[in-house]
């Protein structure tokens, strides 16, 4: 495929493709169908699309009711509203009864760009991860988004899918042997000195960082950890054992997301130094997406620095 596409756009296309073979799939919106790219689904399947207006809590509750009657709803809004405003509805009306609803948080992270801090959600992985029984997925590119959407539809349980606004390069389709499996990270690049575990658009940055480091003779492994929960603990532990140091990288607060999940796993099973690369517990601000990411250090260059630093912590 190559080229670039935003994960939100790949998701919108995947819904239309999956609707054909999955009559249980229904789509709910909260006045953001254009932004989330579900508008095309609405056009093609008007009887299976419901726009609930700017009422995220109600949208979430209605999805729960639909799910008790054999539907698999995908609810759509920005990540901040999906996992913030409607958090308790997700917890009590969807997760507690274990209903098959996929909560989709589009416009996750700082790469929302110009809309600024009120819309840049860097807490969603934390918010969803802490709910018992939730599956939490952050695809890194359009190709992976297509597979993730299908996997969550077939999961038949509560799930959260985090998408981004900004177009990103397709990378997974160029990796030989790439396969998407829910709950299983994918090793994008092998390496023995350190491991970068990344999700979302930081996977692309991790691959670039690994390239830079290779030029210095540092061999960094890169794992695409699209499923934050349940975490692929075996792969994490193996990486810790084999490379002795881990750097996590995510477009999320360094508190509560992928980095936290990796630390929780390793603190018990294989304590090695873990450096968390992400948003340093602060709010974002307006700007062009790439400039905002750069302003907060979410780049391959800063990530490469984190790896260099991590190597100094390595116990020999």
């Amino acid at each position: 495929m190559a080229g670039s596409i935003a994960t939100r756009a790949a998701y919108g296309a995947a819904l239309i493709e999956l609707a054909e073979t999955h009559p249980e799939l229904v789509v709910l919106d909260a006045d953001l169908a254009q932004a989330v790219t579900t508008c095309k689904f609405a056009e093609k399947y008007p009887d299976r699309h419901f726009d609930m207006g700017i009422a995220e809590c109600n949208m979430t509750g209605i999805a729960a009711g639909l799910a008790t009657c054999g539907k698999h709803p995908f609810t759509n809004t920005f990540a901040i509203f999906a996992t913030g405003r409607a958090w308790e509805q997700v917890r009590n009306s969807i997760a507690y009864p274990g209903l098959p609803v996929t909560v989709v948080g589009s416009h996750g992270g700082l790469s929302v760009g110009e809309d600024g801090a009120t819309h840049q959600c860097t807490e969603d992985l934390n918010n969803m991860r802490v709910i018992p029984g939730m599956t939490v997925v952050v695809p890194c590119d359009g190709n992976e988004t297509r597979y993730a959407t299908e996997a969550l539809l077939n999961l038949n349980a509560p799930s959260y899918l985090r998408l981004c606004r900004m177009a990103v390069d397709n990378v997974t389709d160029e990796i030989p042997g790439y396969k998407f499996e829910l709950g299983k990270g994918f090793t994008m690049r092998d390496g023995g000195d350190a491991t970068i575990i990344a999700c979302g658009l930081m996977v692309q940055e991790a691959l670039k960082a690994a390239g830079m480091l290779a030029a210095e003779g540092i061999s960094a492994r890169v794992i695409d950890m699209h499923t934050i929960k349940p975490l692929d603990e075996e792969l994490v532990v193996k990486a810790a054992q084999e490379t002795g140091v881990i750097v996590t990288s995510e477009e999320h607060n360094v508190i509560g997301g992928l980095g936290a999940a990796v630390c929780e796993c390793l603190s018990l099973r294989c304590p090695v130094p873990v450096v968390r690369h992400g948003v340093e517990d602060c709010f974002g601000r307006s700007g062009a997406a790439k400039k905002v990411l750069a302003a907060y250090g979410l780049t391959a260059e800063v990530l490469a620095d984190k790896v260099r630093y991590a190597l100094t912590l390595k116990k020999s």
């Binding site: 109600n58 209605i62 008790t68 539907k71 009306s93």
Partner: protein, 283 residues
């Protein structure tokens, strides 16, 4: 409604009140006032109106009920037990670590519960979703949502009301247990609800007001709800919090309090005397 059926419903509701109170007393915890006020509504629904089958609690064609005021699970559990969904003795496991009859209804573990509730304000949305699914699949089932009046303080209720009107879910009927009280006091003091009839009508709903302790009137209202096409119906059922136990009626402090042994004995005595009287009248 035939006087005989009214009699039978009154007997069932009184048994339900006894069961609910004994469960709350045994657990020394639970919501007394609202369980007593909603009992007649739930009795008419489960023993007169709804098509449900305890042998097939998940029948896709069944009518569904969301007890949005989930804290009144003692009333729901009692009615479900009397209807045959699970043994009446199970009521003794209410709020107990030894069972799964949680303080608030749990659809995963309790037969007959159609939606897990307890966080006020969320149930009407779920009910709209169930009604939408019924429309999509051309099913004939009906959906009932039982709401508290204090619960109407929640904004999500009104979000759901708009959605119900938008999608014309005439297979949905909400019933408000309009007992004029919530935890902190009377609703007029805590948060005045204003003209509820006009509010629901303005949100595009068919509105019916009844005495929520009058079985025939409730049944009639449910019939009118079925006949109303193109919009959902809400029944504002005027009730008395604590109904059926003299010293609990209209006393808001009984909202979330369990009776002690002495209070329970008195309440039980009153309800048993009432039951005896009903059974004699029925002979």
């Amino acid at each position: 409604m035939e006087p005989k059926e009214i009699q039978k419903l009154a007997i069932t509701a009184t048994k339900g009140r006894l069961l609910g109170l004994s469960a709350i007393h045994r657990a020394a915890s639970g919501h007394t006032g609202g369980s007593l006020s909603v009992m007649d509504i739930l009795t008419v629904l489960y023993f007169h109106e709804m098509k449900v089958n305890p042998e097939q609690p998940r029948d896709p064609d069944r009518d569904r009920l969301v007890l949005s005021k989930g804290h009144c699970s003692p009333a729901l559990y009692a009615v479900l037990a009397l209807r045959g969904f699970f043994p009446v003795e199970d009521m003794q496991l209410f709020r107990s670590i030894d069972g799964h009859y949680s303080g608030h209804p749990d659809m995963v573990h309790v037969k007959g519960v159609d939606m897990s509730t307890g966080s006020l304000g969320q149930g009407l949305s779920a009910a709209v979703g169930m009604a939408l699914a019924g429309k999509m699949d051309s099913k004939n089932y009906r959906v009932y949502a039982v709401l508290g009046d204090g619960e109407l303080d929640e904004g999500q209720i009104w979000e759901a009301a708009m959605a119900g009107a938008k999608y014309k879910v005439d297979n949905l009927c909400a019933v408000v247990d309009y007992n004029k009280m919530q935890i902190d006091g009377i609703t007029d003091d805590v948060m005045p609800l204003g003209d509820l009839h006009a509010k629901w009508a303005a949100f595009g709903w068919n509105v019916i007001e009844v005495d929520g302790h009058d079985y025939a009137a409730l049944a009639d209202a449910l019939d009118q709800a079925k006949a109303a096409k193109g919009k959902p119906t809400v029944i504002l059922a005027h009730t008395i919090k604590g109904k059926g136990v003299s010293f609990m009626e209209r006393v808001f402090t009984w909202h979330g309090k369990a009776p002690n042994d002495e209070q329970y004995a008195q309440a039980k005595g009153e309800l048993e005397a009432h039951l005896k009287q009903l059974e004699e009248e029925g002979k």
